[in-house]
Symmetry: C2
Subunit: 351 residues, 2 copies
Amino acid sequence: MSPSIRPNRPSLEEVAVLAGVSRATVSRVVNGSPTVDAAMRSRVDDAVRVLGYQPNLSARALVRRRTDTLALVVSEPDVRVFGDPFFSGIIRGVTAEASAAGLQVVILLAQSDADLERVERYARSGAADGVLLISEHAGLDPLPRSMLDAGMPVVIGGRPHDESLDILFVDNDNVHGGRLAARRLLDIGRSTIATVAGPRDMTAGIDRLEGFRSELGGRYRPELVEHGEFTQSSGEDATERLLATAPDLDAIFAASDLMALGAIAALRRAGRRVPHDVAVVGFDDIETAASASPPLTTVRQQTVLQGRAMVRLLLATTRPDLRLEPADAIPPSEGRSHLLLPVELVVRESA
Amino acid sequence: MSPSIRPNRPSLEEVAVLAGVSRATVSRVVNGSPTVDAAMRSRVDDAVRVLGYQPNLSARALVRRRTDTLALVVSEPDVRVFGDPFFSGIIRGVTAEASAAGLQVVILLAQSDADLERVERYARSGAADGVLLISEHAGLDPLPRSMLDAGMPVVIGGRPHDESLDILFVDNDNVHGGRLAARRLLDIGRSTIATVAGPRDMTAGIDRLEGFRSELGGRYRPELVEHGEFTQSSGEDATERLLATAPDLDAIFAASDLMALGAIAALRRAGRRVPHDVAVVGFDDIETAASASPPLTTVRQQTVLQGRAMVRLLLATTRPDLRLEPADAIPPSEGRSHLLLPVELVVRESA
DNA sequence: TCAACCTGAGAGAGCGCTCTCTCATCCTGA
DNA sequence: TCAGGATGAGAGAGCGCTCTCTCAGGTTGA
């Protein structure tokens, strides 16, 4: 009685038979072609409804050579990446922009080497029109190269390690962010300025440190650099090491807000007041930065925007037919090989 | 010179021509059929390598009526779900088990109504062989029903709200977990036992409260129930309300570890010692539970196992041909409509 | 009145693959 | 020596769709 059990889904052909028209006409209706008579259209629509017809995407993809699907590949052994505000921002931006363009986003996790291979097969097999790649660590990640070799359009989130790769990417202006942080600490009169830098194998960390170093100029002291893992606890540990090295430090630039929060906790434990004794600048402007105590002065990066820009950059190269309306805030991407999104200093109370 | 630019990927046909065999033979080699001569096999393998051949998954899916892809649909408006240890456990389990079965997992986010529709189209269009659904809140979620109506195999993570749905699901034994927590608090001699329950619209929260209530029996006091959102800060707030209602409470069962951590923070702020003045039992056994201060007594649920079981349950119904070796810890799923995974009490110091 | 044009619908090829049939070839044993 | 099996490879249909080409029927202008 119920139409619930429908083991073999109806095809275009069956709809056509029921509506008494040709397959071509059904196809036109389903795809919204304007060259179809209203009466005929409604006959077809009825048949579609009655049968619960849903086009078979494999068949469509086969002939169109397009799937209207974007793969967001997260190449990162640790699932906890998802907890990272960076990732959730990117994901939010990517899904928003893709939705607007009528594209489906599928997220693929590449955690093991076996996954890596599976993901590569998936992407190369035409199951997606393009790949957005997020892999912060890397250096070793074979995915960008193999995707490129396969002629699959790729956009990377963040600056890729391998400079030789001629690949599209969207990054935040981490170097400038590092400069802004250093400049702020100098401007408020600090002199012994340390940094809890990011991991050495992540370009974001490298670039932030580079900006910090260059702005500090002669005041830069290599022994006042400790590396963390962008996590709160690693920020605490690094800060303890810094305090051991330089008990007189009066400022810390942490390359992520989580590390800045860790730094504040460690400083407090060591009896230092923030910002009175030690000023702290973070990076990211995560949600909790504003409500931290004290509210965190930080460098804001726009991860949601970054995700959106990644999609736009990809579409600009693969789908010039889609005329995306220009979004303010996102620099136009025609003919660019990469985009550098602006960052800004958000001054609160910690520095 | 470089083979990098390969805009139109080679087809079986081209491989066949190069190898001097028929399409059928190439197909056999690619799919590992045993009935192919070694010499021929290596000729084909060479051709595959030379051309960089990769089978077109759309074409294959079209004829096989199978994609070897599982969709993990996360139906949740807030992207922050990803930070939730529950989700990352499920994801880890799902990807692990799917990998073992040679299946690709794609994660789909359904955040808005538009997404919902897109996801539904995707799933119903044959782009995946089955759907694993995670949507904790819900009640309103149309996805389970529409998938079911479309004849798409679905397994839900957690007990679905809609009892009338004849649908497969894998849940943790939340009721028993609630009982275990209550029993522990009674066993250590506590008498004024409060609970920070989960949200009213999530079955996990409802079930944990139900177990707690039933085990407490006559000692259950409705006014000692405050609801949180499974987050740390909501646990703090709820605990403050509880302390206002019953300053003499000597035990709290928090329906998640994050809320338990929040409870401990609030208790400490209120000058209560844990466990001396107030014993606290959590739920989840998240990674940080063991290293909390004091280490958290909690009810362990096995989310990774849950993810694995979801895949197995789906495969048991859709792919009886795959003989999965039985995994200990996962109850066999033949003929079952749902699985209830055991939970256990982990006694540490907080209770 | 009829050629020239437009509009809307059908015919049919073919996307890249799998898989059933069919058949050629080689081996075995009476 | 030759029927009866194996074995391994090719032929060909067809999965469900799109899209070009063709054409019928109606409209227009000279």
